[in-house]
Symmetry: C2
Subunit: 205 residues, 2 copies
């Protein structure tokens, strides 16, 4: 019996409820703008009860952020150096767009942290994140060197995928306002982004 202390079923469930409520609030208002009252309200618990499960507002936020980066970067980790370059890249784009559609709150939590200068994530950015991106950038560069993708700066290519896919989650309110009713932003984006990256990266014969 090593590792984290065991927790009862009800404890586990309440902790998850709190995290979900906190994600809702933090992703919209940022750390400072969010209040424990809002989180407790969204979780259907009293404020002291929330603080029974987590020692502080900061602790809740920290746990959310720590889980986030793992989930967020999984599609990039899964980029397979042995796969077909264009297939792999377009699949990465599609998976990132799916995450924007299915996990917009996580996307906004991340965006909020970046806007604030990543005060609670700083080390990971220059460490794990940077290492992963550079690793995958080398894979992309290899594909370009062998003529299977048109050469572009690989790190900026990754930035462009992040920017284009996350925009549909982070600026969803604007996207919907501009498109008006009767549109499916994510379905349209999927087609558009597929076209965009094909045109950008298809080798000229």
């Amino acid at each position: 019996m090593t590792g984290a202390r065991p927790r009862s079923r009800i404890q586990q469930k309440n902790r998850e409820t709190i995290l979900d409520a906190a994600l809702e609030v933090f992703s919209q208002f940022g750390f400072r703008g969010a209040t424990l009252d809002q989180i407790a309200e969204a979780a259907g618990l009293s404020k002291p009860n929330v603080l029974y499960y987590y020692p502080s507002k900061e602790a809740i936020h920290t746990e959310l952020l720590q889980n986030l980066l793992d989930v967020w970067l999984q599609p990039l980790r899964d980029l397979d150096p042995g796969g077909d370059p264009m297939d792999e890249l377009l699949r990465y784009v599609r998976r990132k767009l799916d995450m924007s559609r299915d996990m917009p709150r996580e996307s906004r939590l991340f965006a909020n942290e970046m806007l604030q200068g990543a005060p609670r994530m700083g080390e990971s950015l220059g460490g794990a994140l940077r290492a992963l991106v550079n690793d995958k950038a080398a894979v992309l560069q290899g594909w370009m060197d062998s003529g299977r993708l048109t050469p572009v700066p690989p790190v900026h290519l990754v930035f462009s995928i992040w920017a284009l896919t996350q925009h549909y989650a982070d600026f969803e309110i604007q996207v919907r306002a501009v498109l008006g009713p009767g549109h499916d932003p994510f379905a349209e984006a999927e087609v558009f982004l597929d076209t965009l990256f094909r045109r950008l990266l298809s080798p000229q014969t």
Copy 2:
């Protein structure tokens, strides 16, 4: 003597100082996360003195937002239907990227407002903004119909320009962390985005 009440030189100067300080703070922490103490501190004024020039925290934020949309959309307004399509589009991209480099705080203020669901901007999004985008989308569509640009969904093309350029301001901390020292993100982005949109939109002969 009609219109706004006249203000002394010192009044004008202090109001500008406050707006600049508030932009700094609001763009980082959002409306709820920002405090008058921070704004006063950044402005070098006492808190009551700040409230001498503006009746409330909300009033400062409102004035910032109202000025913002005008400035922010000027490059799009300037897209000239009579110009050369590719030149006009690439110039638009370049100007938006310049704004990300020179006005990152404004970009982040806007992003913060979007992340929160645009509670203090909602009407403008579906009104003036939507009208402008649809107007310019028609221009783009015309260029595509005449074969001078490769056809893509014009509104999503505009979204892609916003996403790609604003990313370098809003996620600047991440961009710099991943690139590491010795890089000029905006200079590299200018070249990359020029390439990207050329490849996407150059008509195939």
